[in-house]
Symmetry: C2
Subunit: 405 residues, 2 copies
Amino acid sequence: MIQVAVMGYGTIGSGVVEVLETNKDKITEKTGKEIAVKYILDLREFPGDPHEAQIVHDFEIIEKDEDVEIVVEAMGGVNPAYKFAKACLLAGKHVVTSNKALVAAHGTELLAIAREKNLNFLFEASVGGGIPLLRPLTQSLAGEKIEEISGILNGTTNYILTKMAREGQTFEEALKKAQELGYAERNPEADVEGYDTCRKITILTSLATGKEVNYEDVPTEGITKITDTDFKYAAKLGTSIKLFGTSRMEGNKASVYVCPMMIGPDHPLFAVNDVYNAVMVRGNTLGTVMFYGSGAGKLPTASAVVSDIVEIAGHMEDNIPTGWTNEKQPVAPMGEVTFSYFLRLAGKSADKLADVRAAFGEAETIELPEMDEFAVITGEMTEARFRKLAAAFEEDIRQTIRYTK
Amino acid sequence: MIQVAVMGYGTIGSGVVEVLETNKDKITEKTGKEIAVKYILDLREFPGDPHEAQIVHDFEIIEKDEDVEIVVEAMGGVNPAYKFAKACLLAGKHVVTSNKALVAAHGTELLAIAREKNLNFLFEASVGGGIPLLRPLTQSLAGEKIEEISGILNGTTNYILTKMAREGQTFEEALKKAQELGYAERNPEADVEGYDTCRKITILTSLATGKEVNYEDVPTEGITKITDTDFKYAAKLGTSIKLFGTSRMEGNKASVYVCPMMIGPDHPLFAVNDVYNAVMVRGNTLGTVMFYGSGAGKLPTASAVVSDIVEIAGHMEDNIPTGWTNEKQPVAPMGEVTFSYFLRLAGKSADKLADVRAAFGEAETIELPEMDEFAVITGEMTEARFRKLAAAFEEDIRQTIRYTK
């Protein structure tokens, strides 16, 4: 029997307890061992809860109980999750977490402790919820040179953008609807400003390069400036606007960024709508593969946590290599990254197109009826060059969205 | 150093040699060992080939060389692939194959030998080409009760159906185009009759249930009866017609089948076009996830073979459990499986709809201009019940395609 402690009895924590129960037979069959929840750490009381007897309020009970071999951290936030996770590893316990903030901020250190002590620190649920993603990336694609990872990694913003695209809503209207449905927090900053996506693409990049990426170095732009007008052009163009977390890797260089992207219908992420998440991975010999599923939700996320527990059950005495080392992975400045650009400019194209083309080269033009503006899609150029060229049109430019087919 | 032999120097075999070379540094970094190709078995000579020196014509050289620890079977077909793969395992060598025919026919036995001898028999490339699929299924979803696997598992037929949908081609025209492009064989039977898909869904089902499925028990229907007229209705309905390999599991029961399916726009496999493959997996707590990518192609498939070699490099002394045992998994008769049906009937709906509704219940009706026929979509019923009801309309029914939203 393997005894587990679950820290945090909120959505994910209670989901983990539920999945361990629901799939008990399958798990026992697969691991050859019974997985039992000995403690549930939470500051709150849960009178009448079927697991009331396991609730404890004092972390030290878990830390000091040598029978507890795996600890699930499902508290969220960096503190005290970091302190507790580290203490558990130092006490010789494997740790599983669904907490992207913890992994992005302290993954390197916690993985190093796990390696040194022949333990495991796993976090499949921290990116893409239930989608099997980190394990395929570190194991199935282990021999592959990963050239690009692009993901729709945040369900809240994807829901908002889908609403805007389908129903012509403004950002504010779609956000309000998302809040009503419980998809967005009352303070939606972490989602809509791209911070959540930033943590997730940071984790994916660290796993792909094997080096620590500092999430504070990742240029991050959210979706708050995307408007219903942008989607009118998108509809006419047959394109879609999505919040991307992207990492492009070449040799030892990595460009990592979070921003809204306009994408064409042939892009593998084009049809990923509502609260769904998806990640495409391009490898040098593999070509492009895509993983799709519920990026959040109680049971899917808990299912991913349980998959880590099952994995550890087969490796109680050895460290499963993730390849994420203590080395630092510098992030290329945004100015060096290449994009095409969707631009909306004030005025009539008849008056201004010659100037625009003189600056940006042959650009595709899009006009909507009865608008005092027009849009163009430029060819590819570095962001630095684009900014320089765009400076001359500063007063005319109403919107800039990076574009890829 | 780990010495490898590659059997078969055709598309996949030469791809494996190429990927091992191209990604040598990454593979060495990941495994901590150099992977070297010692022999390439092929009946042909390859004068001037950079690997000419490694070419051998006699299997016994590989079988008897104790330095060869991993053998890649990339010959295709069941014989002599089966004989050679078995001999390699019995000689204490790990075996990796991309050969779905071999795995579907002899996987149970070869896995049992590998288990018994503490070796590995891996076959990630046998289903879905480069898409990481089998490892996520057996490892990431190990604790999950898999309820359904549905896949577009054959690139050739998906290309043909995409051509028919987009360009209004007949089956024969689209097949000819696929043959011209090298996507379809001169004898396309294995693809268009669904046999290839049948092998693949059999393998997926055996991994999901842990029991041997006999591919000869799987009801298999290809795409040769799908017509351009069917796609006219599909266009009007906003649906798509795809060749599905499906396995629905409930308790100890498994319904496994291969057939064309009409699917709605919300189905996760709706937008999978051209030669791409994709597999959706529904788990009891996970919800639905989907894996997408190139289902074939030299380098993507070779990349999956190499991922198995890399996996084995970390398990040279132990058997990685796949969960596929010697037990038999009975396949439910097709008559017990539930579907909705898209039916095309001769005549005018005004004359016949009352009879159709009396038989099948409230059915959605679709009419195209200037046709001497109409179509209906029925509610859900077992196939046995459908056949019984449809018998009364035998002379009128021009087409039957199973339907799911």
